[in-house]
Each structure stands twice: as C-alpha cells, then as structure tokens.
Amino acid sequence: MTTTNKVDVGPDAPRPFPLRALRTILSILRQLAERPLSLIGSLMVLVFVLTAIFAPVIAPFDFDQIATGPRSAPPSADNLFGTDRLGRDVFSRVVWGAREIILLPGIATAISVLLGATLGMIAGYMGGWVDEVISRLFDSLLAIPAMVLALVMLATIGPSAAGIVIVIVLLYTPIITRVIRSATLTVRSLGYVEAARLRGESTLYIIVREILPGILPPLVVEAALRFSYAIFLTASLGFLGLGVQPPSPDWGRMVGEARNNYFQAPWTMLYPALAISILVIGVNLLADGLRRIFRYEGQL
C-alpha cells in the first residue's frame, strides 16, 4: 500500500470542485487513520461528538434534575459519577455538557475562521492601505492579553452563551487573519495567480478560486488549533463564573462549583475536569495529525 503525504488541495487538482473536496476529505481521513496518535485523537473527538449528539439517550437523568440520589454521594450503580451538592447526577451533567463544550466553541471557531480567512486573504492579496488598516487594527487587539480582554468584555456585555461566542470571535479572528495573511502573501506571488490577474479575472474570483485553495492547509490546521483553544477558554470562563449560566452543565462551571467541596466530593470535580482534558488532548492530536498531513510548518 502506497501512502502519500501530499493532499490534492493545490491549484493543480482536478475539477470540478465538489469532487475534488470529497477526494481531499477521504484522503485526509485515510492518512489520519494511518498515524496512531492522530487516530487516537480522532477517535477521542469522535466519542465526544457522538456523546453530544446522543446525550438524551445516554444520560439517565436531565442535567438539571435535583435529588436524583443523596446529595454529594460517591459513584454508585445508580449514579455512575456520583452526585453533586444538589443531588444532581454528575454523569448526566457531563454527558449533556458535551453539547455545549463542543457547540459553543465550534460555532465561535467557525465564525472566526470565516472572518479571519476572508480578512487575511483580502489584506494579503490587496496589500497597501487595506493591509495596513486590517493589520494594525488586529495588532492592537492582539497586544491585549486574551484572558484580560475576555474578562472585560464578558463583564461588560454580561455572561451568556452569545457573549462567549462574541468573545472567542473577537479574540481569535485577528490571530487567524494574521496567519492567513502570511500564507496569502506567499501564494499571491505564484505564477497561476499572476496568470489569473493577467487574464483580467476579478479580485473576488482570484481570492476564491486561486488563493483559497492554496491557503487551505494552514487554514485547516489553524481552525483545529483554535477549536482546541476555544474549548479551553470556554471552560476557563465557566470556571471563573463568567461562562454559560446555571443550571447549564458547563464543564468549567462544574469544576468551579465543585472547588469548594472537593475534599468531601472529589468526583464532582474529577469527571468534568477529565472530560475537558481528554477532549482538548484529542483535538490537539487531531490538529497535529492535520499539520503533518499538510506538511504545514508555519507558526501554530
């Protein structure tokens, strides 16, 4: 069996585009499966995604149902991960919590990637004052420590799911923009882009059809990494009490709430903390696998 480290995402790939995309995805999955660590990471992420989808089937109780057993009771047959201070089933809360910890960072990362890729390509391709304005604006945002910016923004707009999405988008769009701008600067000087320009193609056409395929490798890797950081940021904000509101089973908030009685009921902190760790490790392994597949050596 012959393996290849080259994915058909470049300008020489055959058309039409949907077929090419399908081939690319299958190629990526095959190559991920060939690397043990990448496979493990992918499976870890898959398990959590399936858990999130089938939470109503897997969880024996609603996430907010109180008195499912004695309060702060250790793990048992009735409550696999034990119960918290209000007698809520920790296993059910961890299972339901998978939805929020994947959905919120997922949505926020998708928006960040969309905005960051667009602005990065525009800045990199057009250059001049457009590049200056976008780059300096985002440089000033990047100069502020991420957590400080997040805390100030959430304290201002109020803690909520929408607030977290806004914060992540504002924090990660500049980073993605900067990465994509760098990649675009490399691609724009290639011959096929120059040829398209000479043919008189519009800017929109050149960006979408000529540059976008060329910057996909760093974009995919960056998206996976940003997703991993977004999970961590969401959990951190939840831990600090500025995340999703109770009685939501936010893993970070669960750890924060359990902090006060971890000596009496360590299971209330252990399982959500483990879930955060495993998911973040899984996403990172997946991102690392993608980086190797794309032979992307840029700054991560």
């Binding site: 907010d64 109180i66 309060r71 201070r85 209000l86 304290a155 109020g158 803690p159 909520s160 600090l240 009490g241 500025l242 509101q245 109770p246 009685p247 924060g256 709430e257 902090r259 006060n260 009685n261 971890y262 000596f263 009496q264």
Partner: protein
C-alpha cells in the same frame, strides 16, 4: 506502719537527721514542682502569638472601609466610644458612662482618663469631636445609624452630641465599625502601617496583600488585656486555602466558611468549628413600582407562594439556617423578631392561579440576576428557585455574575428580579433605613410604602423595647401582606479556631471579633 516508722526513726540520731533531710528535700521538690506547674498554667493563660487567616483589606480608612477584613484590622488598632458585644449589648469603652437628656436629643459621654494613642499622645474630647465630624465630612455609611447630629467638647472630660430627632439606635451608631476613634493630630488614616489608635494592639509590620503583624499595647487601658503578645493577619484570598492553612497550623482562626468547608473541618481533632446565629440573609426582590412586574400585590404573593424556603434551607444548609419569614428582621434580634407572623407555605398551584388572574397568561418569564457569592451557594439557590418557580408558572433564566462585578457595575439596582446578600447588622433599623423606606439609598425593590416609612421613623424615636417591638411587628405584618421581597433564610455564620485558642467568641459580623481577651495554650 506508724510503729514501723517509729522504729526506723528511733534507730539512731544520724538516721533521724537523714530522715528529716529527706522529708525536707521531698517537700521542697513537691513545692518547686507545684510552683513550676502554676507558673506554666499562668503562661498558658496569657502571652503567645495568634494568627488569623483572612482576605486582604483594601480600604483601611475606618470611616469608610466596609468589609470584614478591614474591620478586623481596625478592631485591633482602634477603640470605640462604646463596645457592641457579640450579642448586641452596649458596654463602656473609651466612654466610661453616658447620659441621655429627657427629650432624647442630647447625649453626654464621659471619657476615660489616662488613655494614650500608640504614638504617645493623649486621648481627649477633641479626638472624639474630630472623629465624628470626619464621618460627616466623608458622608460615611456610619451616618445611616447616627442620623443628623452635632458634636462638641463638653465640660471636663466629656463630649456632647445633639441630634435633631430622637434616635433609639444612636448609641449603637457610636460603637459601629466605622466610628473608630482617631487622633485629631493625624492626617492619614488608610496607610495601615501608620495606623495610630488607642487599641489593644499596635501595628508592627504591614505588607499589603501579604500580612499585618500587631504587637500588644503595653499601656492598654483595659485591665489584663490584651492577653496575646502578638497577632498576625495572614492574607489568603481563597477560602479553601484558608482551611488548608488552619489544618496545617499556620493560622488559628478563620471565618465566613461554607457548610462544605466546615464539614471538612468537623472531624479534625485540632480544630473546633464555630457557628453563630446572625441576621445575614439573601433577599429575592421584585421591582414593585408603577409599571413593574410586581406592581400588583397579588404578583408579590405569587412569587412568595412559588418559593419553597424549607427546601432551600435543607439543600443549602442541611437545616442549620433559620427559615425566613420574608422580612429582614430575623430571630437574632430577640424581642424585635415576631415569630407569630407566618408566611404561606410553598403552593405552586395557588401561585399559578394568581399569575393568571393578574396577567391573563398561563405563564410568565423572568430573568433572575444575582451575585456568585458564598462559595457557589447563591448559584445553587438560584438553581433551586428556578425549578420551584417553573412548577409555579414562572419560567426563569438565571444570570449569575461574580460578586465584585454584580455590585460594582451599577446595574444591580436596575434588575427587576434579583438576589442581594445582606450582611448582619447590629440593629434591624439599619436594613429598614437603607432599603425599605421610600427614597432609601438601596431601595432595590422600588417599594414606596408610606406606612412603612412612617413606622420606621417612629421606631427610630422609640427607645422603649416593648413599644419598639410592637412597631417592628407591624412592619413585619406589612411585609407579609404586601412586601415585594422573599427572605429564604437567615444564615448562620460559620468559622473555625485551632484547639489551642481560648476565650474567642465569634461576632456575627466576624471581622469585629474581639481578640483582646483571647489567649492560646502552647
């Protein structure tokens, strides 16, 4: 035995001398040991060093510093005109006695002689005048209890206060935490290390955010006080870390603990847990002014019927707290608390019926905002309330924010349905004046009930305990009938001390715990 002894004694003169010498030696030894033992006991009862684990103070100016950690610092260094004990009794301090004129408008305090500040300057009437005029200049929260007054030096070693209207709580006002007596010769009062009071301890070292070390004042006026040689406040922001420090023997006293933290300490042989009944309570309030959700009294009743206070007490306190009866005057106030006023039990169906009667809708939706206080307890309470209200046709969205953010962003008073934590006060009048009379500065329920305002004013000028209790009972009845607040419980104050500590009585406002007669055994 006696015969045998006589025989021994009688054997020879040398033996007799030896025997006598031995007896004297033994007696001397016993006497020496007894004296040593007495000496050790005496050392046990005084001297030694003591450490308190507490959050770092921010504003050390006694006139304005509001929190426990600030009161704890100032209680060490300063004295007050009168002392308010842990059970709300008034005792002489820098004032040895006082007289009140027949019309209740003039208070004359006789000051203690031969008292000096830590810098060696003498204490006198000018210092009292300076202190209380400064409270007025700074518009200190102390004025809530003191009201309007003038102060001047009287004849001899006295000061005279004239108040504009009779105020039954004026004496409490002179002993409250903001009214620490300052030296009129000083100019800076929030530096910590330069704090200059007449108190039992002097500041030896102050490292902001780290620790404060206090040494005993050798010239302190109170006989036998302080018993400790040295007290250290070690600043630890995290409550769990404070518990760890107590278990490790780094500190001797911590307070404002959660039930979880006390349970962790309960089985430890080196620590004693403390519990004091207080009037500290959360208030769930709904805006009641025109156009607001609870403008209609029936809606206020619906929220009361929708709230299961017993369940909240059971889940959050395992029944240790006192279930509230929806007014701020709790059982810690003794005669002023009226247990006969009962509130309706949890009845979600009745609540639904009232809501439908008022709004014509099956259900209503509200956002319940509150601070993340007491180790997640308020978030747990909000979760319980959300479920209780859901059964009572009220859909609730919870919004819990960190305590500092909640109270500092200026919007908590604008919140239509909110939770507020009220700390313990020495007298019930404080709550009523601060939050429940028309135009009160913290009228968070936007409740403008003229009758309550008149009764509160009447209580302020009523010195007789029975008459005052009757007025408070009337106020409590109004709260039951049409008050826009729910008081789910009155919380106990929980703390813990090392077992080597003797004589410590935790104050309901724990920062005011008096350490003057506390001792440690080594």
């Amino acid at each position: 035995m006696f015969v045998h002894s006589a025989h021994l004694v009688g054997r020879s003169g040398v033996s007799r001398i030896k025997y006598t010498t031995n007896i004297v030696l033994i007696l001397t030894l016993v006497l020496t040991l007894a004296l040593m033992s007495f000496s050790v006991s005496a050392q046990d009862a005084s001297g030694g060093s003591f450490a308190v684990g507490v959050e770092a103070p921010v504003n050390l100016d006694p006139a304005t510093g509001p929190n426990d950690q600030e009161a704890l610092f100032n209680r060490m260094v300063f004295d007050y005109l009168v002392d308010i004990t842990a059970d709300s009794q008034i005792e002489p301090a820098l004032a040895t006695d006082w007289t009140i004129s027949d019309d209740g408008l003039t208070y004359t305090f006789t000051l203690r002689e031969d008292v000096t500040f830590h810098d060696g300057s003498s204490f006198g009437p000018e210092d009292v005048v300076f202190t209380f005029e400064r409270l007025q200049e700074l518009e200190s929260p102390a004025l809530n209890l003191l009201g309007a007054f003038t102060v001047e030096e009287g004849e001899g070693n006295t000061v005279v206060f004239n108040i504009s209207a009779p105020n039954a709580d004026f004496l409490y006002g002179t002993g409250q935490r903001f009214a620490a007596i300052l030296s009129s010769e000083d100019t800076a009062f929030d530096t910590g290390v330069d704090a200059n009071g007449t108190g039992a301890f002097m500041v030896s070292e102050y490292l902001p955010g780290d620790r404060a070390v206090f040494m005993a004042n050798p010239d302190y006026w109170m006989e036998g006080a302080p018993m400790l040689d040295e007290v250290t406040h070690i600043y630890i922001e995290d409550k769990n870390a404070q518990v760890d420090a107590l278990l490790a023997g780094t500190v001797d006293y911590i307070f404002k603990l959660s039930l979880d933290q006390v349970q962790r300490l309960a089985d430890n042989d080196f620590v004693t847990t403390l519990q004091v009944a207080t009037n500290q309570h959360p208030v769930i309030r709904i805006h009641a002014d025109e156009g607001s959700l609870a403008e209609d009294v029936r809606m206020r009743q619906a929220f009361k019927l929708a709230t299961d206070r017993d369940q909240i007490n059971e889940f959050l306190w395992e029944g240790r707290a006192t279930v509230g009866n929806n007014n701020p005057i709790g059982p810690a106030y003794g005669p002023f608390y009226d247990p006969s006023i009962s509130e309706p039990a949890y009845d979600p169906e009745a609540a639904c019926a009232l809501i439908q009667e008022v709004t014509g809708q099956e259900r209503i939706s509200v956002t319940l905002r509150g601070p993340d206080a007491f180790g997640g307890q308020y978030a747990d309470m909000a979760t319980l309330i959300e479920q209780q209200w859901e059964a009572a046709c009220i859909d609730t969205e919870i919004e819990i924010t960190p305590e500092g953010v909640y109270y500092s962003d200026g919007t908590w008073l604008e919140t239509e349905v909110g939770i507020t934590g009220w700390g313990s006060r020495p007298v019930p009048q404080s709550y009523l004046v601060e939050a429940y009379v028309p135009d009160a500065s913290f009228n968070e329920a936007r409740w403008n009930d003229e009758e309550v305002g008149e009764l509160v004013a009447e209580a302020a000028s009523t010195a007789d305990t029975e008459e005052r209790a009757a007025i408070y009972s009337q106020i409590a009845e109004i709260f039951a009938e049409r008050g826009p607040i729910i008081v789910p419980f009155f919380a106990p104050m929980l703390g813990a001390v090392s077992n080597r500590t003797e004589g410590l009585v935790m104050n309901p406002f724990p920062g005011l715990t008096d350490l003057r007669m506390v001792s440690v055994s080594e």
